[in-house]
Amino acid sequence: MIWKFAYRNLLRNKRRSLSTGVAICVGFVGLNLLGAYIFRAKMALDTTSIYSAQKGHVSIFKKDSIEQYQIKPKKYIFNVDEQNQIQKVLADLGDQVEYTGKQISVPGLLSNGTKSHPVVIYGFDPVAFKKSLTQPALLEWAKDWVLPSQLEDADLFLKNPETLSITPKIAELLSFNYPLKSNEPVQMAARTLDGDLNAINADLGAEHTTGMQFLEDTIVLIPIAKVQELLATDAVESISVYLKPGVSVDPFLNELKTKMAQIGFATDLYRFDDPIINAIHSGSMGFLYVMGGFFLFLICTAVSLTIINSLTMGIIERTREIGTLRAVGFKTIDVVQLFVRESILLSVISMFFGVLISFLVSSAINAANIRFFPPGASTMIQFVLKWNLYIAGFVFILLFIIASVSSFLVIKSKLRTKLIALLNDTSTFDDESEEEEST
């Protein structure tokens, strides 16, 4: 019966209910779309980190390698025996591991025969690369970070292990002609792990993008065997572990850490989003979380104040009604429930429309294919809002709680007033008058 009363009361002042409902609805839509944007950004960063940047879900490095590898590379690499020991540990966790990939990187020179350009040469496992490039998650969340030509032939590096992939920016700097499938011979030079200058040939045959503007003139990719040839070694810098779908990263990481502690050399293990190996991920998400938190605070405050304002006005107008309700036998709790349910009802109806509107707005924006340059990005990406039921549910619960608590607090304070004062409609929200009434 109280629900029925509450519904009728909402209709008594339609204009005020409508304006309050619109405020709640707009707040809900805003938070929902913001959440959809942050969710998309996180998923895109996650998948590009794991698959495009080939960090895997977990990366295994020699202890202190992150700080020391560039200074003393020979000391901070995994030799063949150590690689085998790690693979044995990973084989024990085979029910969780989908595949692994080895990497090694080195600063060096890329030469077109007439001039050289300083680059970081990144050696990758071509089998793992192919698997990563064809991951459904990568194509779903981060297609903008994969060049169309990369998807044309994921077997390219398996067919020709001499193939070098460069970015469009490096192609421009070294005056390489498009398409880059000419297998034009290029040379790479670097210091070996023993400190000698060495150079090797490679075939220019692919292009990629790093996704970041400041890396576009720096990173070249080539199968790991070529980098090992350049460095005169069979060692690797890191091993990336890619987990099967549904496997949680943190429990796996803890289990792997326990097992790795038992082998004969010290290692460092990192999650793909660890700031130590992925500052871009943590920096970008940190910024988005701070921004999201700020907007969350603003919108929640605005919604809360709107409800308080609307209810306060309603209560002032309905003071005598409250007194009457209590006079005919309604308990204080019943009156509180009535007003709280009015707020809940209004919030639920508003947010129901909010769900529909946010879904429609995000669908319309996605269909419009709006493209923009995120800060520091190398290419334009689509402005995508990934509407998500979990986010909608979270925002729904949050605003529901805010509406309920706000209305409860407002009505609770009013009901401290004496019944006779309510019936005479002489009360206000002034504490002094309440005290006078009570005396």
Partner: protein, 240 residues
């Protein structure tokens, strides 16, 4: 007023001329000879507890130099070509030579450019900073500033003997003017060119300014004037 400016400028130009003359004279003893000259160099390096030895045959003529690694076996037949201020690296397995920087480390403390860069008078602007006594000899201390970014060092403080016109010490400086390597030169060889016999460098010891145990000693052996064809300095001939 004009006369005053002229009078003030004269010492500066005179100073710069003297500095350039000293530099030109000292370059000759390091291989800057118009006719072709060749020598072999052994670089012994000690760095972070590791030591290694590398050997090269060097042929230089005018602004060009041809450097071939002879030892150890794994580096044999590697070639460095200096064309004017450009430097190239080549080895038989490469399809094309690679353009490299003179600043890059060759081995230990020795940069690529150290092995055959002999034209300081051409590559650096020189001014005399001061005159002082070093090892009992009067020395002109020159401040050399690179004329191009492609040179081995940005700045060098260079001690040239007033008597012999030979460079005896070099401090290789950062852009901020702080020494990061110190080179000591010895002249135990002689070379005869155009009927004149003059001292020729026999040792360049390059020591890390901060970590004295990290050092490379370049020993110059068997210098002689030879007729060299220009074709050996042509980088395009490497791949033919």
């Amino acid at each position: 007023m004009k006369l005053l400016i002229l009078l003030l400028a004269i010492p500066f130009y005179a100073n710069a001329d003297l500095a350039t003359d000293l530099l030109r004279a000292s370059d000759r003893a390091r291989g800057s000879v118009k006719d072709g000259v060749q020598w072999s160099a052994v670089i012994e390096t000690e760095e972070n507890g590791d030591s290694n030895t590398r050997e090269f045959n060097i042929k230089a003529k005018g602004d060009d130099a041809y450097v071939e690694a002879t030892k150890p076996a794994k580096n044999k037949s590697e070639i460095y070509i200096f064309n004017d201020r450009n430097m190239w690296f080549f080895k038989p397995s490469l399809k094309k030579p690679v353009s490299i920087s003179a600043r890059q480390k060759l081995t230990g403390q020795a940069a690529n450019g150290d092995i055959a860069s002999t034209h300081y008078a051409r590559d650096y602007s020189a001014v005399i900073e001061k005159t002082e006594t070093f090892n009992g000899e009067k020395m002109h201390v020159l401040m050399l500033t690179a004329k191009s970014k492609s040179l081995t060092y940005d700045k060098i403080r260079y001690w040239i003997s007033d008597k012999t016109k030979l460079a005896m010490k070099a401090e290789f400086l950062t852009l901020q003017g702080k020494p990061f390597k110190v080179g000591m030169l010895k002249y135990g060889n002689t070379l005869t060119a155009a009927g004149e016999t003059f001292p020729f460098i026999s040792e360049l010891a390059i020591v890390d300014a901060k970590f004295n145990n990290n050092k490379s000693i370049i020993t110059y052996k068997s210098p002689k004037v030879v007729q060299l064809s220009n074709t050996i300095f042509n980088v395009n001939n490497l791949t033919r």
